[in-house]
């Protein structure tokens, strides 16, 4: 499997992401935002976490206009798989590849800690190795993770099985983390080839470092 990880000025999770996917057996290429093309053998594009362009204006607002994003738009339109983690999720929202928008956390704090997540839909590449209602423990680290979508949009997400993950407590009861609509932590597009989530599965791949709940998530792309 060939994974292409994008790198913008201010991205800071590209090497963690590379390490995680390589550990699972992928060949990983990091591609600079000024490039116009993705490597032709790309199976999965990952937009990693960080603070592209210093989060200026809005998180992800400037990165979405980078050269490489045109290639990502084309890749996604042709059914290519795209995963956005944290700032990557924000970029996908700004780019219109995923519906909704991100607001500042309702606590107004930067939140950096482990948090439980409930698996909502597994009928997709990303979460296919997990079971509905599984509870995972994965780090979150963000300031703008307060996902917003209007009522009509939310209905659509629910009806199409596009809600992937929800913030919850250790028992799996939905729990607010940042004010997100329906406690949403991750979604996918209608065609189920573009995925975005605020938590960092690539930081949860070694029990030695606390937890490996992210492995089964990332492994979904290998199947």
């Amino acid at each position: 499997m060939n994974v292409t990880v994008l790198q913008f000025p201010g991205t800071n999770c590209e090497y963690d992401t590379k390490y995680a996917f390589e550990k699972l057996g992928a060949t990983v290429t990091i591609v600079w935002h000024k490039d116009y093309e993705l490597p032709s053998n790309t199976d999965l594009v990952v937009i990693p976490g960080g603070f592209s362009y210093g989060d200026y204006l809005r998180s992800g607002a400037i990165a979405r206009f980078a050269n490489i994003m045109n290639a990502v738009q084309t890749f996604a339109a042709q059914g290519g798989k795209v995963l956005g983690i944290c700032n990557g999720f924000q970029i996908l929202l700004e780019a219109g590849l995923l519906p909704g928008a991100m607001k500042r956390n309702n606590t107004l704090h930067f939140i950096s800690k482990y948090h439980h997540l409930k698996v909502i839909n597994t009928d997709n590449t990303f979460l296919q190795l997990l079971n509905k209602d599984d509870v995972l423990n994965v780090p979150v680290a963000h300031h703008d993770g307060n996902y917003y979508i209007d009522d009509a949009g939310l209905k659509e997400l629910e009806n199409n099985g596009q809600i992937l993950l929800q913030y919850c407590d250790a028992q799996g009861n939905a729990k607010s983390l940042n004010g997100s609509v329906e406690h949403i932590a991750g979604i996918c597009n209608k065609d189920k080839n573009v995925f975005g989530l605020m938590p960092h599965p690539e930081r949860a791949i070694e029990t030695l470092l606390g937890c490996d709940d992210g492995v089964k998530m990332l492994q979904g792309f290998f199947k």
Partner: protein, 81 residues
């Protein structure tokens, strides 16, 4: 000529920063005179154009493309000078 663009969350989208600021002002003794507080941002653009109408149309495009996220934000444009 310059354009002053104000961007803020739409009515109906909860403005947590506005709410926190409102609360802080309340505790500073302004409670009686405040109805609502909203936090937004202002972007000032110096323009080369001298045609107000053209400038407004171009700035509107800028807002829709980049300056505001119209999923959650509204904007207004003032052309001055």
């Amino acid at each position: 000529m310059k354009a002053i663009v104000n961007v803020a969350l739409k009515r109906g989208v909860l403005d947590d920063q506005g709410k926190a600021t409102h609360h802080a002002l309340d505790t500073l003794g302004f409670k009686e005179i405040i109805k609502d507080v909203r936090v937004g941002k202002q972007i000032v653009i110096e323009l080369t154009s001298n045609n107000q109408e053209d400038a407004r149309a171009e700035v509107k495009k800028m807002c829709e493309k980049l300056l505001a996220n119209t999923v959650i934000e509204d904007f207004d444009i003032e052309i001055v000078g």
